[in-house]
Subunit: 301 residues, 2 copies
Amino acid sequence: MKLTILGCYAATPRTFTNPTSQVLEIKNRLFLIDCGEGTQVQLRKNKIKFSKINQIFISHLHGDHFFGLIGLISTFSLLNRNNDLHIYGPKGIKEIIKLQLRLSNSWPNFELHFHELENTESEVVYEDDKVLVKTIPLKHRIYTNGFLFQEKLDERKLNIAAVQEYEIERCYYQNIKNGKDILLDDGRLIPNNLLTFNPEKPKSYAFCSDTCYTETILPIIDKVDVLYHESTFLQSEETLAAKTMHTTAIQAATIAKRAQVTQLVLGHYSTRYDRIEVFKEEASTIFSNVLLADDGKTFEF
Amino acid sequence: MKLTILGCYAATPRTFTNPTSQVLEIKNRLFLIDCGEGTQVQLRKNKIKFSKINQIFISHLHGDHFFGLIGLISTFSLLNRNNDLHIYGPKGIKEIIKLQLRLSNSWPNFELHFHELENTESEVVYEDDKVLVKTIPLKHRIYTNGFLFQEKLDERKLNIAAVQEYEIERCYYQNIKNGKDILLDDGRLIPNNLLTFNPEKPKSYAFCSDTCYTETILPIIDKVDVLYHESTFLQSEETLAAKTMHTTAIQAATIAKRAQVTQLVLGHYSTRYDRIEVFKEEASTIFSNVLLADDGKTFEF
């Protein structure tokens, strides 16, 4: 699982900081999460192949999370993309994109599928044979979702030495990987655990931005491997955080601790602070395993 | 008159090139012309004060000319702008901007005035005591206007030595600057030309992008001081230029020559070419006074 931060600062794009966007690579799929202005340039700078992005998840319709989407779609079109593109985001996103495509008379030459969200309960929005994506309903000034990306449990791993020892034919391998026991010709029943190893534990990543401190998300993000949680402010701006429905570093760490996650990644920093290390300093007083997102940074989990 | 090029490349923003946007400073006013994605970052990089921009002119609704507008408006709002903002652009631009402001529930705290254009004849769209702006109807794949910025003739300049010699009182100065002759107490009539100098010749700037080669614009841009004309392609791509309704460098130079402009500035380059100097080389075979726009470049006329 590889996370590339394209942008992780709040409010407006600036000379050296970018609004929210990130790419999650999981089981050889690339998921784009949020798409602030300038995301397409950040994708180029980070050498991410445009054609590998087939799913885009938009948390909410504040500009710093989606103003780059129409430009990215237009560029996909100019690059003669063929693949279908799926966009998951709040109701209204389809109208915004289609209006601009209509007025510029430049309908893309690929299929554009909108999956508009309006449910306030967590729901599965994407699923294939390897990965499942659920919404994490957040509490912000407008309708907002985080997203939980879960790897599915792989099939069991064949113990090659064992299957050869029992002289089991190849045609039974898939059954074994699916967990079946095997009846040999001599009548012996070989239990599956002698023929296989456990698959790797599936990993999970939760993206939570933007939101105020809310414990309603705890059951959904319980024990995830990596939690990206917004921490727009420091504790000194706690009142402002509450008023604008954002989170402080201490609050993000509290959520990480209560959800018993393995790793917390902080982001969505207000640009009022000179250095982002202070976010880690404050969060670390509550939760030990804290990393700081920054534009262009990658994390492998 | 000072022109700052924020972006002058066609199609998509890239790591080192930006889509169309420029700032014209004329008579202490700042006019923003077009607003491709990333314009607000380019404004910051070029140290242009956001609060001094009160008029934005949008040529057409292709993304590389206006996808940065909604982000700029949002940033104005976050910066607690108070001044009214006037936007001049094709019909539909109001719907695009208002839809996004409504869905993000972030209506700005300043007045936003839309001046939607649909006339196919040149018309005056802005006028104050110093400056006049007219549309230049262009021929492109969708409804498009260039813009002609004209300084108005200043009042005449007082010849201080002369008015002192004739002992003329201060209360008559404004009449003299307005061109009036003066009757002295001793009965002598002093003609205005003895009391004043001619004002500076008013300057004019024509922005023409995007368009195919069209001579219909010649009467409107006749003898302007500076013509910015798109030259997306070189002559080797003449067929592609015609097909996409763009212009070659040679064609832009031909327009400059026929309109007898003083200075031609080329821009809106396709990124297919390694160096932009070739645009100047080709254009210079037709018209001698050619400058190349480039991102971050300023011109004082």
